[in-house]
């Protein structure tokens, strides 16, 4: 007869064997006294264990959690079919559609070379128009750019995307400065100057009321189409005000603004500087033109090439050109603004006034009395503090003093 180990006997004792195996083990146990004893002990241990486990205090859920579970049970069960089968299919379909839109240029974007953003309706300064184009629509994109430029938009960024397969693009054009750097929408219509001069004027005026003069001049500058840059006001010990005002007025209105200043009082100093930036301006203009053309050529190449390697190289080049273009265009914008608006720094000072007979600081009997009492209280505090210290240190200094006094007395007697 086959014999069985303790593991099987334990499983047998705990009724964990299947029917056929149970019968075999049962036969073995019947015939083997030691096995019978082991099984009996296991069964007894099982009963003891069960009793011990069940006698331990039981923990349970609180009413709130129980209620929450039963409320959840009232909700309809989520359909596993929808979540596990339909949702992945829908997600896959969406991915396929997006993939197709990206991988098949022109298929979904062939009408995208039009622009949006209300560009048709006389844009204001700072307005932006976005436009997109597909791989085969570089020509349409170019037309769009020209159309926007004619409306006063500045050709800002044109970004090529999706390398390989011909590429596509997107662009942003901003109202403000056109490719030639001439200010539109900001400067009142004025003819393109022959010389580009940045004019700065410094005027010092002595007036009766500096604040009023500064306010009046601000109003006049605004009427001329200018605006205030910085304002600084100082008042000295004699209540005399000095106002330093920096205004920017359109370049062709500078002379008129300076004349207007004469009316505010006695002109102490006047200085007008002009910095000629014509060369830099023209150079920038030419570089912008060249870089724009280079960019357009590169974009054209990009739309024609099909090789990934070429596409990447062209994109690197486009980015380099675009960086340079943005730098120069930024500098050109600053120059344009400084040329278009001259700066006037006007310092309005008031005439020196006679010093007052009565001292500026007022005299008060109450204040003086209070200060005297405060001083007395302070002295009292210091005195009391010292006395406390002396008192606390009495055990130290008193014996020393006593000994010293005794010694002195002894020697004095001698």
């Amino acid at each position: 007869m086959k014999s069985f180990g303790e593991e099987t006997l334990a499983a047998y004792a705990l009724d964990e064997l299947d029917t056929s195996r149970h019968a075999a083990v049962s036969e073995f146990v019947e015939s083997n006294a030691a096995a019978r004893e082991t099984v009996a002990e296991y069964r007894q241990l099982a009963r003891l264990a069960k009793t011990a486990m069940k006698s331990a205090p039981q923990l349970e859920l609180d009413e709130l959690r129980r209620k929450r579970i039963l409320q959840q049970a009232q909700q309809p069960a989520r359909s596993g079919f929808v979540v596990k089968r339909v949702a992945p299919l829908v997600a896959a379909a969406v991915l396929l559609l997006v993939g197709a839109a990206v991988l098949l240029p022109g298929a979904t974007q062939h009408k995208a070379a039009s622009f949006r953003g209300g560009a048709q309706s006389a844009p204001a300064a700072g307005d932006k128009a976005e436009f997109f184009f597909g791989a085969k629509l570089a020509e349409e994109a170019k037309e769009t750019r020209e159309q926007l430029q004619s409306l006063g938009y500045y050709a800002g960024n044109t970004t090529a995307f999706r390398p390989g397969g011909g590429g596509g693009g997107a662009g942003v054009m901003e109202k403000g400065v056109d490719v030639n750097g001439a200010i539109r929408g900001i400067v009142p219509s004025s003819p393109q100057p022959d010389r580009f001069l940045i004019k700065t004027a410094f005027v010092s005026i002595e007036t009766d009321d500096a604040r009023k003069a500064a306010a009046d001049f601000t109003t006049q500058a605004a009427a001329l189409g200018g605006f205030v840059g910085n304002l600084d006001e100082v008042t000295d010990g004699l209540e005399r005000h000095t106002v330093v005002l920096e205004v920017r007025v359109p370049a062709d209105k500078l002379d008129g603004a300076l004349e207007a200043l004469d009316a505010f009082g006695k002109v102490l100093n006047r200085q007008v500087n002009a910095q000629d930036v014509t060369k830099e301006y023209v150079d920038n203009e030419s570089r912008i033109r060249n870089l724009t053309k280079t960019e357009e050529r590169l974009l054209d190449h990009l739309s024609k090439t099909g090789k990934m390697e070429d596409t990447l190289k062209i994109e690197v080049e486009i980015n380099r050109v675009r960086d340079q273009l943005e730098l120069i265009q930024g500098r050109q914008r600053v120059l344009s603004h400084r040329v278009a608006f001259s700066s006037i720094t006007a310092t309005f000072t008031e005439a020196p006034k006679a010093e007052s007979v009565v001292p500026a600081q007022s005299f008060s009997i109450g204040k003086v009395s209070t200060e005297a009492v405060r001083s007395l209280v302070g002295f009292g505090r210091v005195l009391i503090t010292k006395l406390i210290w002396v008192g606390v240190w009495l055990p130290v200094w008193a014996p020393i003093l006593l000994v010293g006094w005794l010694v002195w007395r002894r020697f004095a007697r001698v």
Binding site: A10, E16, Q44, S55, L59
Partner: protein
């Protein structure tokens, strides 16, 4: 719960019936893992909320094992989070004895059984408690603990032998054989 009656129950009644049957043992089981009554209750609440969302038809044949498995996994996750600062190894994140229950037991023999049990390796303790406290069979225990049937069998034998050694004087096999 017999099959005919089960089919007649609405989902809410079914969850209520399962809750009544398994609430206490599951809280006890979760407590043995997380050592905190409120955390254990949270774990069991999450287990039952998962039951509410689960496919009833799929789990009914193995409800006990399913509940204990979900509860165990959730409790271990909670315990790992709680013990992150002490950086416990996975092996240590097992069911530990609940000393509080041992102290509360009045019967001397039961107290000795629980004391011996507390000295056993954690895996043996878990298998043993699932068997005698939660009334799961070997197959269910193997599923809950994610170990083989043979391993459960060996764990149980070792636990029983350890108890047998300690409680030898109190065992009376002759009486058991007769009964």
């Amino acid at each position: 719960m017999d099959d005919t009656r089960r089919d007649l129950l609405t989902r809410e009644d079914w969850v209520a019936a399962v809750l009544a049957r398994y609430e206490q043992p599951l809280v006890q089981y979760a407590y043995r893992i997380v050592h905190d009554v409120e955390l254990a209750r949270d774990v069991v609440q999450d287990t039952f909320l998962q039951l509410c969302r689960a496919n009833r038809a799929k789990i009914e044949g193995q409800l006990g094992a399913w509940l204990y498995t979900v509860c165990r996994n959730r409790a271990l996750t909670v315990r790992r989070k709680e013990s992150r600062m002490t950086n416990l190894a996975d092996k240590d994140v097992a069911v530990a004895p609940d000393d509080a229950s041992a102290a509360a037991v009045q019967d001397e023999t039961s107290r000795r059984v629980l004391a011996v049990l507390a000295k056993l390796p954690l895996e043996q303790q878990e298998a043993f408690r699932l068997k005698f406290q939660d009334d799961l069979n070997y197959r269910e225990i193997s599923r809950v603990m994610n170990v083989s049937l043979g391993k459960v069998s060996a764990l149980m034998k070792d636990a029983l032998n350890a108890l047998r050694m300690e409680l030898k004087s109190e065992l009376n096999p002759a009486r058991e054989t007769k009964s």
